[in-house]
């Protein structure tokens, strides 16, 4: 595959605050790539650098091998779907979609044909003469997408385009966006802080935190093989505990030695051990590799979320078996459910569910959305 956009050693700061710290990223033609991270991680700034709304302090932006640091937005073959759509209120649906074509002095017949093509693609045929302010959020979203795609850009940038939609609509639009990307073959660069959205849509996920790229990989890669505690925690739920790699394929944590599938560490090297909550089996206390006491049980629909205290460290376990609070249980973990990570600056910050509650999580999420 061809690289279509390359970011090389880019640093960017606003008012002395470093927003992007020496990041490098290759974006390939025809892929659906997602920049994922909490608010303030630099993902939107990265998008704006590609769109041409910001210029890097140092480093280069390349488009098909050509440096475009100083090329203004209107000369880039890249279009953007803005977070709040940024439709032009004084123009109707038709004129909004036709806008980029008129800018290029496209002949009238072609404009007519392409606008109607685009509107039927986003299922808005018959809305041509409606005022954009009279449309619902989802419809406005579609107009924004149609407007951004009608000019056939090589790359489409999407800045949290689904954030303002309700859950049901968001799920539908995720599917639709994916379909549109496949149908058009245009490279999509998608920015979100919603890890589920990222996992379900992306070919490649770029996990960012504090202006740095933490990991680049496929959905499965970043989920199953997180590089560090930040990635493991941000993507899905993770129990992250301190361990010691005794030798290849043998790790010790929580007072027990486990078989695992990872290797390549120094003997007795301290490591972070990740165990996904759904990979832990509950067994009778005497049959368990680890033993603990249930401190809380929450019914989530598909499964129960169980918090277990094991020697003072709280684990989260997702199970379909019912257990009671204060019950003593044993835990069984398969070797391939154990993922070993090198120690990083994020070690010890995540992965303990001592302070966990659903409410707390929701609060934190709402806050980070508010910041957007």
């Amino acid at each position: 595959m061809d690289k279509i956009i390359e970011l090389k050693n880019i640093t960017k700061s606003f008012d002395g605050e470093v927003v992007l710290d020496n990041i490098s990223l290759d974006i390939y033609d025809n892929e659906f790539i997602t920049l994922l991270g909490p608010s303030g991680c630099g993902k939107t700034t990265t998008l704006r650098l590609i769109g041409g709304f910001e210029t890097p302090d140092s480093g280069d932006v390349l488009f098909m091998g050509e440096r475009i640091n100083d090329v203004p937005p209107h000369k880039r073959n890249v279009n953007t779907v803005f977070q709040r759509y940024a439709l032009f209120p004084h123009l109707n649906v038709y004129e909004n979609v036709a806008f980029p074509l008129r800018e290029r002095k496209t002949p009238r017949d072609e404009i007519d044909q392409r606008v109607s093509e685009m509107l039927s693609m986003v299922a808005l045929k018959g809305f041509e003469h409606r005022a954009v302010t009279s449309l619902s959020g989802g419809q406005q979203q579609r107009v924004a997408i149609a407007r951004a795609l009608v000019g056939k850009p090589r790359v489409l940038l999407l800045d949290e385009p689904l954030a303002a939609l309700d859950l049901k609509l968001r799920k539908d639009m995720q599917q639709e966006l994916k379909n549109i990307q496949k149908a058009t073959g245009i490279t999509f660069v998608f920015v979100t802080h919603d890890q589920e959205e990222a996992l379900s849509m992306s070919d490649t996920i770029v996990v960012m935190s504090e202006g740095r790229i933490q990991q680049i990989g496929s959905s499965q890669d970043v989920y199953n093989e997180p590089k560090n505690a930040f990635v493991a925690d941000f993507i899905g739920e993770s129990n992250i505990v301190d361990g010691v790699m005794l030798r290849d394929r043998c790790v010790s944590f929580s007072g027990h030695t486990f078989q695992c599938v990872d290797g390549g560490f120094e003997p007795n090297e301290p490591v972070d051990v990740v165990v996904r909550p759904e990979d832990v089996d509950i067994v009778a206390e005497d049959k368990g590799m680890l033993r603990g006491v249930v401190t809380s049980v929450t019914f989530m629909g598909v499964h129960y979320e169980v918090i277990v205290d094991i020697g003072g460290f709280k684990w989260m376990i997702q199970t379909t078996d019912f257990v009671d609070v204060d019950e003593h249980i044993g835990l069984y973990i398969e070797p391939d459910a154990i993922h070993i990570m090198k120690k990083s600056e994020y070690s010890g910050l995540y992965g303990d569910y001592a302070s966990f509650s659903n409410e707390f999580d929701e609060l934190a999420e709402a806050e980070s959305e508010g910041e957007q």
Partner: protein, 659 residues
């Protein structure tokens, strides 16, 4: 409570709109009077459209308002966009505050400071005329700007910041993004700002008064200057028209802004869509808008060019500065002297002359304007004591009487008067004598004849006394035989005592200036001292149950207004031709008939037609047999007093008014 608030609301509306209703009603009044409605008539509207000076002032005001609104809208919008885009928060809020200052600044301060700046700047640049249409325009733009910014800036802040970015993203240049996306978004605010600027400019008086130059009088200034006599009813007509035009503008702008019209537009669009017609091609629309815009621009440019050429000093320009309502102006079938002069001049000398005729409301106003050296006039018509002062201060040029042969028709009585003892600087234009006007239906004939009538306790609550110190003290001093120009303060104290007595005894109904017309005409007051000429104005408009008469007391005030050429004159030759023309028979008679003031010109008062026109009673009153006129004049006319004494007199006057 509810009832009270309803009553309160009703009262509020009454106070807000009663003046407008009265204005409206009296603009259709047949008679001149404000006290009697004698029948419906469009007379004053007709008069208005015949009054070329007023129409010119209206045109000037409109040109100014259009230019000021146009320029300040463009500049204000640009400034708002600039402020909006500033990155520094502190700089932005500082600029916000600074732009607001001119708005809260009192007009008078803005006016004076701008005038000073223009005069100073023109000194630096070595320009002769520092004030002109351009300075007026700059001043108007200055005070309109903040209002435009205040409208546009909030609208910009409300706008989604991503809109211009989206436009650029879709292929617009930054400039294109501004035109195609930002501008349409803030357009409603721009239009509102423009309408505001327009109306502000339209009705500004204070700032215009200080910053306008020769040849460009706006309507508010013209109306203000008419106050020497009463405001004529054609002004009611004008005010009524202006009110309705503004009302229409307001309704229009509300209509285009309201939701109703948006719905209307949406419906229209839907209909068009349903009928299968495509929406108007934006290209076509752009052409349409472009045409409209360039038309508006062209009109603006034309207006500017028009205005500039109007004030530009062409080879033959004559700037005349006179009292308001003090020249025959073509109304009610009279001769339009200024227009006739221009025609006559062109015929006589084979080249056109452009006369800029402007008016002032008092000698002091005129003096202030001239002494700033900010503007130049070629002919001015001040009163006697002001002429003396201006000669004293070298502000007048000696006249070349070889160029004013008609001076020979000036009565010998008017030679060698105190203000210009050698007859070098002035040519008398008109003169007036103060007499007592009374309502014969109230006042006993036997009580008339002297100043005592104004002190007669029989007529308690019927006497109207002057509401200015010099004239009021005058009545008491003439009555007591005191020299009205005395520097002996005890004599002034004595006059005050007399006025106090007059007040205490309750004969004085009120102290009045221009209100005297309406109060006398309606019979509200029965006795007042005023000028003979004004008596005839009242006579014309007196109510049915009123019978106004007039007499001169034994000693009374005289004044003379005379034509002079100030040192700032740019065209003395034409100025002298103009003065000579004003002395010739036809215009001199027209002016005397129009103003009702006595003329010192033999061609007038010896003319049979004039005598017939005025009638024997008027001739007796206007031209009484005074014996030795110059001696009486020199004895009784007011002279310039030194400022210490004037201050003292004013303090006495205040004592009277307070007690």
């Amino acid at each position: 409570m509810k009832k009270a608030s309803k009553v309160f609301t009703a009262l509020m509306f009454l106070f807000l709109f009663a003046p407008l209703v009265i204005l409206l009603v009296f603009s259709f009044n047949e008679a001149r009077s404000l006290s009697v409605f004698s029948g419906f008539s469009l007379k004053w509207y007709k008069e208005l459209f015949r009054d070329t000076e007023t129409l010119k002032a209206v045109r000037n005001t409109l040109i100014l308002a259009v230019c000021a609104a146009g320029v300040s809208t463009v500049m204000g919008t640009a400034a708002a966009v600039g402020i909006h885009r500033m990155r520094s928060k502190y700089l932005r809020s500082a600029l916000d505050m600074v732009t607001n200052i001119p708005m809260i600044n009192p007009d008078i301060i803005t006016g004076i400071s701008m005038m000073l700046m223009f005069v100073f700047a023109s000194r630096l640049l070595g320009l002769a005329n520092s004030l002109s249409f351009i300075t007026l325009l700059i001043a108007h733009i200055t005070f309109c700007l903040p209002y435009v910014i205040l409208q546009v800036l909030p609208r910009l802040r409300q706008m989604d910041k991503a809109l211009p970015e989206a436009a650029m993203d879709l292929g617009c240049t930054p400039w294109g993004a501004f035109w195609k996306v930002e501008l349409p978004e803030i357009m409603p605010a721009i239009v509102t700002g423009m309408i505001m600027a327009f109306t502000l400019s339209l009705d500004d008086f204070v700032i215009s008064y200080f910053t306008t130059g020769t040849g460009f009088q706006t309507l508010p200034i013209r109306i203000y200057n008419m106050t020497k006599k009463t405001v004529t009813p054609d002004m009611y007509a004008l005010a009524t028209i202006i009110f309705f035009v503004i009302l229409a503008l307001l309704l229009l702008s509300n209509l285009t802004d309201s939701e109703d019209s948006q719905k209307l537009r949406a419906a229209r669009k839907a209909k068009r869509a349903a009928s299968g017609r495509p929406p108007m091609d934006p290209k076509k629309r752009r052409i349409l808008y472009g045409c409209g815009g360039s038309l508006a621009l062209a009109a603006l440019a034309a207006a500017v060019v028009f205005a500039v050429t109007e004030t530009d000093n062409k080879p033959q320009v004559l700037n005349v500065y006179n009292w308001g309502e003090y020249i025959s102006d073509g109304s009610e079938g009279s001769m339009d002297v200024i227009k006739e002069f221009a025609a006559w001049y062109e015929q006589e000398y084979g080249r056109p002359v452009q006369v800029n005729y402007e008016t002032f409301a008092s000698n002091e106003d005129m003096y202030a304007k001239l002494s700033k050296n900010a503007i130049s006039y070629d002919v001015i018509i001040p009163s006697d004591y002001m002429i003396a002062r201006m000669i004293d201060e070298d502000m007048l040029l000696p006249l070349d009487f070889d160029n004013i042969p008609n001076y020979q028709y000036i009565d010998d009585d008017f030679h060698g008067l105190y203000y210009d003892p050698e007859d070098r600087y002035s040519v008398p234009y008109a003169y007036g004598i103060v007499g007592v006007i009374y309502n014969a239906n109230v006042v006993d004939e036997a009580d008339t004849g002297s100043w005592d009538l104004m002190w007669n306790e029989k007529y308690a609550g019927q006497v109207l006394q002057f509401n200015n110190s010099r004239d009021a003290f005058g009545t008491a001093m003439y009555r007591a035989g005191i020299d009205v120009n005395t520097t002996d303060r005890s004599r002034w104290d004595q006059a005050l005592e007399s006025l106090m007595e007059q007040r205490r005894s309750g004969v004085v109904r009120s102290y009045v200036m221009d209100e005297v017309y309406n109060m006398m005409e309606s019979g509200e007051g029965a006795i007042a001292a005023y000028y003979a000429g004004d008596y005839f104005t009242m006579l014309d408009a007196q109510a049915d149950n009123v019978d106004l008469r007039f007499y001169y007391p034994e000693r009374t005030n005289f004044y003379i207004d005379a034509m002079c050429i100030p040192t700032c004159c740019q065209n003395k030759e034409v100025a002298e031709i103009f003065i000579n023309y004003m002395l010739s028979q036809e215009p001199a008679i027209a002016n005397a008939e129009y103003t009702y003031y006595a003329s010192p010109n033999r061609l007038v008062y010896e003319n049979e037609d004039y005598i017939d026109e005025m009638g024997p009673e008027a001739m007796d009153i206007l031209y009484p047999d005074w014996g030795d006129f110059s001696e009486k004049y020199n004895t009784y006319a007011y002279r310039n007093l030194d400022s210490d004494l004037l201050g003292y007199i004013n303090s006495l006057w205040e004592t009277l008014k307070i007690n």
